[in-house]
């Protein structure tokens, strides 16, 4: 794990996000250094998943900028893709492939085929290696999704409610895994509603940044009719 870039810096300035034509959050800043962790919490619908999708590059923020070691992400999207792992709400486990095959595909596509078996062991999946994805229980499938984190080393992990449906043992494993990743210089951004053992994490309460409906509606209602033309689209 020593391959991870030491001394990297991932920063966001004044990010704003709109989904389905409705503003979700704005004015969000953070800085993440090697070994750091960002813990996103906040009520349902406050924009945690949306922020993670922005950090992964799926969504474009409507305002603000993201930088890696000072360089804007937009300039080299491929480089950014290569340095991150994203585990979202969906598990990306193919029902007809076995757990090992599922994992090996991802490991191989980034050139680390030997990583797959090790990854299975780390999440307690060795016994399920030859079981097709469709036979997995909810928690087993989640473990298989998390095993992808080991498919290839990447400094930035983006985890959207990773402990959902995991049992206590698997949650403890995941905490250990994240700790080791950070010790090796990796960074992690985790969205969660439950407590998760993340030492010295920067906490962001998404609720504080969310653009409340009232504010959004109120703002336009307050405008004098003459100013309406100057409103954004």
């Amino acid at each position: 794990m020593t391959e991870l870039a030491q001394g990297a810096r991932f920063a966001a300035e004044n990010l704003a996000c709109i989904r389905g034509e409705r503003p979700v959050f704005s004015g969000l800043d953070f800085t993440l250094e090697s070994g750091g962790a960002l813990l996103l919490h906040g009520p349902n619908g406050s924009g945690k998943s949306s922020l993670l999708r922005i950090l992964a590059g799926f969504l474009q923020p409507v305002d603000g900028r993201l930088t890696w070691n000072g360089a804007a992400l937009g300039e080299a999207p491929e480089a950014h893709r290569e340095r991150l792992h994203y585990v979202g709400h969906l598990d990306a486990v193919k029902p007809t492939l076995t757990v090992a095959e599922n994992l090996r595909f991802w490991a191989r596509s980034r050139g680390h085929p030997q990583a797959a078996d090790d990854a299975l062991a780390r999440l307690g999946l060795d016994a399920l290696a030859d079981v097709p994805g469709r036979f997995l229980s909810a928690g087993q499938r989640r473990r298989a999704a998390l095993a992808r984190l080991f498919a290839t080393p990447a400094p930035l992990w983006l985890l959207d409610e990773p402990t959902v449906t995991l049992d206590a043992e698997a949650t403890a494993r995941l905490e250990g895994i994240v700790r080791a990743h950070r010790a090796a210089g990796g960074m992690v951004v985790v969205a969660t509603h439950t407590e998760i053992g993340l030492e010295e994490a920067t906490r962001i309460d998404m609720g504080e940044h969310s653009v409340s409906v009232e504010a959004a509606v109120g703002a336009s209602a307050d405008d004098s009719p003459g100013d309406a033309d100057d409103e954004p689209w």
Binding site: R53, A56, G57, F58, L59, Q60, E78, R81, E82, L84, Y86, G88, H89, L90, D91, A92, V93, K94, P95, T96, L97, E101, F105, W106, R108, S109, R110, G111, A145, R148
Partner: protein
Amino acid sequence: MVRAFLGILGRDLKLAVRGGIGSLVAVVFFVIAASLFPLGVGPELNLLARIAPGVIWVCALFATMLSLDRLFQEDYEDGNLELLALGPLPLELVVLAKVLAYWLTTGLPLIIAAPILAVLLNMSLSGFTILLVSLLLGTPILSLIGSVGAALTVGLRRGGVLISLLVLPLYVPILIFGVGAVDGAIVGLSVRAYLFVLAGGLLGALVLAPVASAAALRMALE
């Protein structure tokens, strides 16, 4: 890059094989659909021979189109597409790998089955070779154009049917040139021009379709 490309190709082929006969269904549909026509049109061999090239081509077109929705939809719904988009391979090449796997499992079997249908429909023997050649050039174009439709509708629950609407009008020229070549060969005319047009279309589609599909997929992932 090459490894990642082959990785996606191999995975898609493996998924198709795991699907069992299920993945050969395009060709089975092709055969069944074409055999429904005599039931509708009547059993006269002369009439059948006359419409055979058209029926075969139209059915090839439906068969290719029918499983288009599976091209990206599954990967989208289970989250694999997100990860492929984050992978080392540019999305355009991901599309190309997936279309290639798709063609190998749907287009190629059609070409192998086409002679059987030609026999069933009593098509003139002189058209067989050109039928195969025209399908060999034409079905990849169908798959490539289809991928654009599939990508555009990937986020939509009701994609499957919408695709046909988007894609069928684009299929018209291929149908015309494909059938034209076969009809020409049966009558004994030169069919070079037809085949050149098809080959040109294939090159164009190879370049343009992956770009358009990748753009559509990026949009779906927002």
